[in-house]
């Protein structure tokens, strides 16, 4: 029989500190002028993403969302917010494509979020960066430095990068950033954003609810499977690597 002191503790520990890890998700969206026609679809898709994650109260309580846009410069459209409290977003397009600024701000915010969790006694999972891009960089500084920094963090398992590549995106740039992994190309019109963010809603819920240190199961979804009618195809970027 269990010693009384031990059993008493087990009875009283029910209100103990639950072993939960928060999940920071940062959406980095290209809002340059070329995205103009696609903005309504993009806004609706992000709002659908927020709403769908919030269908699961438990998952939503653990997910922190931040939205950053980049055009001439990068801007925080929604600072770190518990997704339960996220507001409806409406992004607008205009300006050039300063991808470097966007990535620099996104990387900084994800790193700071990890520090904030530790400072406040929370446990956090590795941050997810979901980047949406439709074109080559047209302004800003050389991205090589920030790409190398992000690659190091991905290799160190400190963050995940996933790229949604709309027609016209810069393959060489995306290849450098991702080594060809976790890139989905849109083969259709911007209505396809809905499918992608629907997938992200399901997968972020799965990740947020997975036990610490475990690999969550990939949710069933049409996303990335052209045979199931997906508008998104897995990009093959190997041929584009290391080109001058």
């Amino acid at each position: 029989m269990l010693e009384k002191a031990f059993s008493d503790y087990l009875v009283n520990v029910v209100n103990g500190p639950v072993n939960e890890q928060r999940l920071p998700v940062l959406i980095l969206a290209d809002t340059s002028i070329s995205m103009g026609d696609a903005m309504d679809d993009l806004n609706a898709s992000i709002n659908h993403f927020i709403r769908k994650v919030c269908e699961d109260e438990k998952a939503a309580s653990l997910i922190d969302l931040c939205i950053v846009t980049f055009d001439d410069d990068a801007e925080v459209v929604m600072p770190w917010t518990n997704i339960n409290k996220a507001e409806v977003v409406r992004l607008r397009a205009g300006g050039c494509t300063n991808t470097t600024a966007g990535l620099e701000l996104a990387e900084k915010l994800l790193t700071e979020r990890g520090h904030a969790y530790i400072d406040h006694g929370c446990m956090g999972k590795k941050g997810m960066l979901i980047m949406l891009t439709d074109g080559a960089q047209t302004s800003g500084k050389n991205p090589d430095e920030i790409i190398a920094k992000i690659r190091r963090r991905v290799d160190d398992k400190k963050m995940l990068v996933s790229v949604l590549a709309a027609p016209g995106y810069d393959k060489a740039f995306v290849a450098k950033l991702t080594k060809g992994k976790a890139v989905a190309e849109l083969h259709g019109d911007s209505s396809g954003f809905a499918e992608a963010f629907d997938f992200y809603a399901i997968s972020t819920k799965a990740v947020s609810l997975s036990a610490p240190g475990t690999t969550p199961e990939t949710p069933e979804h049409t996303f990335g499977d052209p045979e199931k009618g997906s508008q998104w195809h897995k990009a093959d970027l190997k041929d584009w690597l290391d080109q001058d």
Binding site: L2, E3, A5, F6, Y9, L10, N12, V13, V14, N15, G16, P17, V18, N19, D40, N43, N47, H48, I50, R51, C54, E55, E57, A60, D64, E75, V76, V77, M78, P79, W80, T81, N82, I83, N84, K85, A86, E87, V88, V89, R90, R92, T111, G114, H115, A116, Y117, I118, H120, G121, C122, M123, G124, D156, K157, K158, A211, P212, G213, T214
Partner: protein
Amino acid sequence: MIFQYKASVAGPYHIKNNIPCQDSCAAKQTEDFMIGVVADGIGSQIHSDIGSSIGVKVSVAYCAEHLKKGMTDDEIKKTMNNAFVYAYQAILEEADKQQMYAHDTTLCMGVYDGSTLYYFQAGDSGIVALLMDGSYTEVTRQQRDEEGRVFPLCFGPDYWEFGKVENVASVMLMTDGVLENVCHPLLKNEEIKINVPLAGLFMARQGTAEEDVKKLEAAAKQFLEMYPENLLDDDKTIVVLWNNECVPAVKEESYYEPPDWLALQKKSLEGLYDAEPENNDVIETNGISENKDVVQPEKKFRSKRKRKKKEKKKNRKKKKAHTLKR
């Protein structure tokens, strides 16, 4: 006389997924010391259970053979350091044999003479001591990077840490799962940084009969097996050493009260969100309204810091304009 007991059980996640317990532990009485050690194989490495087991065996055996009474602190430090080097070497030899390098582990050792505790630390396992004044203290530091990723044994002597604590009545070595329930991150900024009721459960012991210690060990193992999964789903390992001739002082009653976890969690979350929307017309997404995809007036957010910066800039401009006018 110094006593010891230990318990190590696989975590619920490992059990469900047929993953072996990756923790290892040992305690060994020598003529002059009681040596305790715990190791936590790195979860992502498939042979880390073997790594942790080798690390424990080799380091304890080396210290048992080489640590002697009368050694200076420097000599003890060198001996413990060498024990870790040989442990790592043995792990690498095993990895060579298997032609697969997936054996990383943490290693945390305490050497106790009944009053003084020497510790050597590689990774994020840890040690809590009960001092003669009745206070519990975390003597080690979890070696992790700024985002919480562990520096295991393979990081080498530049990362390993040695220390000494005096007036110790009891010692508990733990792998990170138990450690984070005893020294919970939520207590980090509190006055009492230890979950005293949980630490006391294992450490405030005065039993002397061998049979009592065996019963205690069995009870501790059962307790760890029954510990709620939502509070701890990792492997769970403890080694407790105590000197029955040392009776620590009793602190004020409030010291032994359980922390108010709900209040601590609330306080922690409050600090995480420092920005508020500028527009008060908030549409809660939690309500799953059908109108969520309806385009709303554009709302942009700025962090408080950014807003303050902007206000300052505005004020500076105003001031400059005012000066120019004059």
